[in-house]
Structures are given as C-alpha cells and as structure tokens.
Subunit: 297 residues, 2 copies
C-alpha cells in the first residue's frame, strides 16, 4: 500500500514526462576560456547568450501560474519554430496552438498558459499534390522517421526561443499516454498522415526550482571516432554517478529511503516496472502510427 | 538525357538533405515591437541574441573549408547538446564525434571538419540494468519514438549552440540513404538497441549563401485551437507561395525552365518521383529499426 500511495503522489507531484536541464560542467571548465566557481565547479560564463540559455534549459513540472502569455510572445515562438532544418524543406509538420486551459489539460494531462502541439503531418503536401494532379504516397516508416525528426527540431527550436524570452516550458509526450484517441478527437486531427508527436506546454512557473536536473556527460554518452562499448568499471562508474545526489540525475531524490542500494534499482524496480518483461502486445503508439498510414507492409 | 545530367548536377551541387533557415517575417513584423526594413520586409531586430541565432539558422550544403574546429568549441557543442529535455532523464542516446574526414564522407556522403552522429541508444542503460540484476526490455515502437525525440532534441540543441559560435552546420539523414549497414560497420555500432538517427556535419563554409532558405509560416503550418483543414483557396495560395521565388522555399530555383507550371510540379514529378506510387516493399529504415529490436510483434 505504501508503495502505491507513494507512487501516486510521486506521479502527481513530479511526473517527469520529459525532464529538464543542466548541471555538470567540469570537463568544459577544464578548457582555458571559461571561468569556474572554485567552490562548486559551476561554469560562471559561457561564451555567448545563446549558450547561456542552453545551459539553463530546464523543465517546469506542471507548476505554471495563471498568468497569460502576451500574444506577441506566442507569435515570436511560433515563427522561431520553423527555422530549424527540415528534409527537402517540405516542413512535414503542423503546429497547433491551444490556449483553452481545459483543453490543454485534457490533451497533455498538464496545466499551463498555452500549448504548442507538434504533429507529424503530410496532409498539406498531399492536398497541394492532389490539387495539381500528382499522386503522392508518404506511406512508410522512412517518411515517419524523417518527419518526426523535422517535427522535433521545430519543437526544440520553440523551447529554446521560449526560454530565451523568459518563459518556462514543459516538453511532454503525455499525449502518448492514456487513450491516445482523445488527442485526435479534441483537436479534430486528420485520421491519416497526421500523428501528434510532442507537446510543448508554456507558462510562468509559480516558483523557481531548487535545482536544475543534471545530465550524464561523459563516457557512455559521448564516443570518439567509433562506438565505445562500456567496460564493467565504466558501468559501475555510471551507476555511481546516478547515485551522486549532487548531480541531480534522478527523477526521485529519496530512492535510498525505499531500501534501494542504487538509484537505478529504484528506476528499474519502480519507475520502469512494465519494461522488466518483453512487450507482449502492440503499443498504442505503434497502433496509431499504423492507423495514420506510416507503416509499409 | 538532359534531365539526367541536370539531376546529377543538381544532386551534386545542392542536395538538400535537410535544408536550412529562415525568411519571411511579415506576420511577426506586424507586431509593434519589431523594426522592419521597409523595402524588403525583413525583420531588423529580434528581441534577443538567441532569437537572432534562430532566425539566422541556415544549412551549409557541403561547401565546408578545410579549416579545423578548435577542440574547445567541439567540447562546448558536445556539452550543450545534452541540456535539452529528455524522457525520464534517461538520455536514451549516444553521440559519436568523428573528425576523420574520410570517415565523415563515407558515413554521411558529405565532407566537413567534424561530425556528430546522434544515435538512439539504450545499450548504456541495458548494461547498467544487467550489472544490477534487472531485466530491461526497451523493445517496442514507443521506446523508439520516445528515444528518437530525445535524440533529435540533442541534435538541434547542438545545431543552435554551434551556429551561435559562428560555426556552419549541415543536419543530414544521409545516413539513411544507400547501404545503411555501412554506418554500423564504420562506427562499430551495436547491432541491437542502437539506431543512427541524424548526423550533424560541422565546419566553416567557403562562402556565404546568396540567401537563406525560406519557410511557410502561415495557414497549413499553424493551427489555432484545433486542426484546420485547408480550403481549396488556401491550397492554391500555398501553391502560389511556393512559386514566389522571393520566398526561397524551393530546392531548385529554375523549376520553371523545365516546363513546370508550379514549383510543386517540379517537386513531385522530379524530386519525389519514387513517392508517386505506394511503397512496394519494406524500406531500409524500417528493416534496420526492426533489426535493432524496436518493433513489437
């Protein structure tokens, strides 16, 4: 029982759909051009404002205030979002701005002042092709993967634009949890050739976080010239890095109060429970990608 | 014959794996806070340096010089890349830095000073789980889609970091063209639970482009509160927007010299030829996603 209640509270208070931010910069700081706080090791200056924004990226876990976002700011983010690269400049996405707060909650399970929903979408291109008498069949997984990359690039560009303007953000794949059909129903998405990929909730956090989530930024993430298979020693180092609370890599800081020896014990026995066995049936995401017509036979 | 030679030259000179940049800002400019060049309609100022970087994002189409990138700059980009959001802070990616120029060409088909290859990768997490005695099966399309989002977020964060530092970039899915097995072979990628998703080629362009590629940034891309199905009139407007050469939306500026009435005629009859019929057999991308173990039965 304790575990169930705790799990529910945990999910309610801090479900990290997509968790935020930055922390450990010792390796960078070893380079000559950067100043470092000698007590914390934190980087004091990055070479430009954009890198500062990137180093300060962080996720607001649903605690957005009721303050409205100025229309000009939303427009700025919207126009920024399309400037990322995209394959053959075909912009195989649609970006839906939602300001109705109840709708935002129904779609993402989170509250916020505005939502940008980034969808893989070929319907505009198909409509134009038909109008000109061309047959066009974006009907396979290559189309889906390429369009997903285009779509995610737009979403992350919007995140960086928003945070540069002082807005708080939450990127979430909450749209893929629960009954996914709701997203199609609420937003009247086309059933074919359109797939809601990633949601960006925007607003103003009611309070600053105590810390920004950290990141692994060494061996196992970065490889040189070719893929490096981890040694047992390196695996143990990574496990220990997750256990180092000062690095804030975990979703839950009190994992050790639950009798777990390591943070990753908590993650696997508790958070990733369903993934401890092979997948038994088709996931909803795959079913909806199929229904959208992006899986060749 | 003419068409074949022309196609080859076109591909050689300007294959837009993932094309760049920004152009039309009239809608934004309609807001009060921004100055506009009255002759061109271009935005003169954006509210901060980061937005300036975003509005100036553009792709270098392979014309990189032989100049080396300072090690500190590569390190800065590498560390910036991990600061994007990622699901449950599990960082389900690997980032491989390649400086061997021949290898870069063999992998991407492009030349450049450095390559960051962003791979969906669960091997680090699986290794750690095994070491601690946990079973972990990231074996379905939901895992793949979620990890692809994480991986692309890292890639676009790296692009914005690099361009803020004055580097030129090319994001390409060239790794998915030709014999994909070469990427596994050259970089010794694990056969399972690892998939090379997107490549970022970095360097210094030998010359500035004459213009930055434009973007559609109106109806059909942006939707309000719900999905808007295009009217015939709107479809015709989008077709006309592609035909407006001043917007630089096309991959090829001389489409009308080839007897096409519209840019999209050129795109469909020439560039997207293979997509004019339904996909007949499994694409290589889907085959490799399956082999990587990300497709549930």
């Amino acid at each position: 029982m304790k575990q169930k209640t705790e799990r529910r509270n945990f999910i309610k208070s801090s479900l990290l759909a997509l968790s935020g931010a930055i922390f450990y910069k010792s390796k960078l700081a070893a380079n000559a051009n950067y100043d470092v706080d000698s007590s914390t090791g934190a980087l004091l200056h990055t070479p430009n404002d954009t890198l500062n924004v990137i180093h300060n990226l962080h996720t607001t876990h649903g605690n957005f205030s009721h303050k409205e976002i100025p229309e000009a700011d939303l427009e700025q983010i919207r126009l920024a979002s399309v400037h990322g690269a995209n394959s053959s400049n075909m912009q195989t996405y649609s970006i839906i701005l939602v300001k109705d707060r109840q709708k935002i909650k129904d779609i993402t399970t989170y509250e916020g002042s505005a939502l940008f929903l980034f969808c893989v979408d070929f319907n505009r291109l198909i409509d134009c092709a038909k109008q000109l008498g061309h047959a066009y069949y974006p009907d396979n997984m290559t189309n889906f993967v390429t369009a997903s990359i285009n779509t995610t690039i737009a979403a992350q560009t919007a995140v960086i634009a928003a945070q540069s303007m002082g807005l708080d953000t939450l990127l979430t794949n909450g749209i893929h949890r629960g009954d996914m059909q709701r997203v199609w129903d609420i937003l009247e998405l086309p059933q074919e050739k359109c797939f809601p990929l990633i949601a960006l909730v925007l607003g103003y956090a009611t309070e600053e976080p105590l810390y920004h989530a950290g990141r692994l930024d060494g061996v196992g993430i970065f490889h040189e010239e070719k893929y490096h298979k981890l040694t047992t020693e390196e695996i143990n180092e990574i496990i220990a890095t997750y256990d180092n609370k000062e690095k804030h890599l975990g979703l839950y800081e009190n994992w050790d109060q639950d009798g777990h020896a390591h943070y990753l014990d908590w993650l696997h026995s508790y958070w990733l429970g369903r993934a401890s066995e092979p997948t038994k049936s088709e996931t909803a995401v795959f079913s909806f990608i199929k229904r959208s017509g992006f899986v060749e036979s």
